[in-house]
């Protein structure tokens, strides 16, 4: 992994490495979120996942989500979001988020906001592969201001061009 704050990568993720991307002498609290591949979805046994991304669009959207979090919680000093694509086995991390601040108060809410937004608007897809089949997991609907989850009011859309 490089030192970029918002990145789509193909290799293994590390929360220590993500924490280093947001570290600074005035930082006293870092919250990280690690999304890992579960062996099941509901009652279905999962063999592995395949993640696919549209990196040229995903990385700017990750950066936008970082800015949104800092606007909502100005105490947040730095955010890093790294998403992995390709074949991921059970237990491997698909995403690592790191949120840094001088004091911890707002770091948890900001990190929770960020993972919700990533799942709502960033063009990344996953295919579940089982012993006897596979399926692309689709999000619930087109992201829009009314359907961006618990954090409504922030839209990923630009005004339509004419």
């Amino acid at each position: 992994m490089s030192g970029k704050l918002f990145e789509i990568v193909t290799g293994p993720l590390s929360s220590d490495e993500a924490a280093r991307r947001v570290a600074a002498p005035n930082v006293g609290a870092i919250v990280t979120f690690i999304g890992t591949v579960r062996d099941h979805t509901g009652d279905r046994q999962v063999d592995y996942l395949e993640y696919e991304a549209y990196p040229e669009m995903a990385e700017p959207l990750l950066a936008q989500i970082g800015r949104e979090a800092q606007e909502r919680w100005p105490s947040i000093l730095k955010v890093a979001i790294v998403h992995r694509t390709g074949h991921l086995n059970i237990g491997e991390a698909s995403i690592v988020i790191a949120v840094a601040a001088s004091h911890r108060q707002e770091t948890f809410a900001a990190c929770s906001y960020i993972i919700d937004r990533v799942k709502a608007i960033v063009p990344i897809w996953k295919k579940e592969v089982w012993a006897d089949g596979e399926v692309w997991i689709e999000g619930p609907r087109q992201p829009d201001p009314a359907t961006a989850g618990a954090w409504a009011g922030v839209t990923p859309f630009k005004a339509a061009r004419q």
């Binding site: 990344i124 689709e138 061009r161």
Partner: protein, 85 residues
Amino acid sequence: MIQVSVRLFASLREAVGQKELARQVQEGSTISDLLGALMREYPRLAQAARRTHTAVNHQYVPVETVLRDGDEVALFPPVSGGAVP
């Protein structure tokens, strides 16, 4: 006629069998027009693309958006980066 590139992802990519296409369309065409033409060309896309998301030059835009020469159009299913947990 104008020239656009089309990026396809996930189930839509699999339905078409390609990641990227180059197409010429009439000036004034919308994404909707382009999508309709592709669905006629790739019948499996019509199945997969019931809930297609659309972006132009890395920005989400509505399907009514008018295309311009050189646009990179992206067609993909609802994002699931993913959904749960």
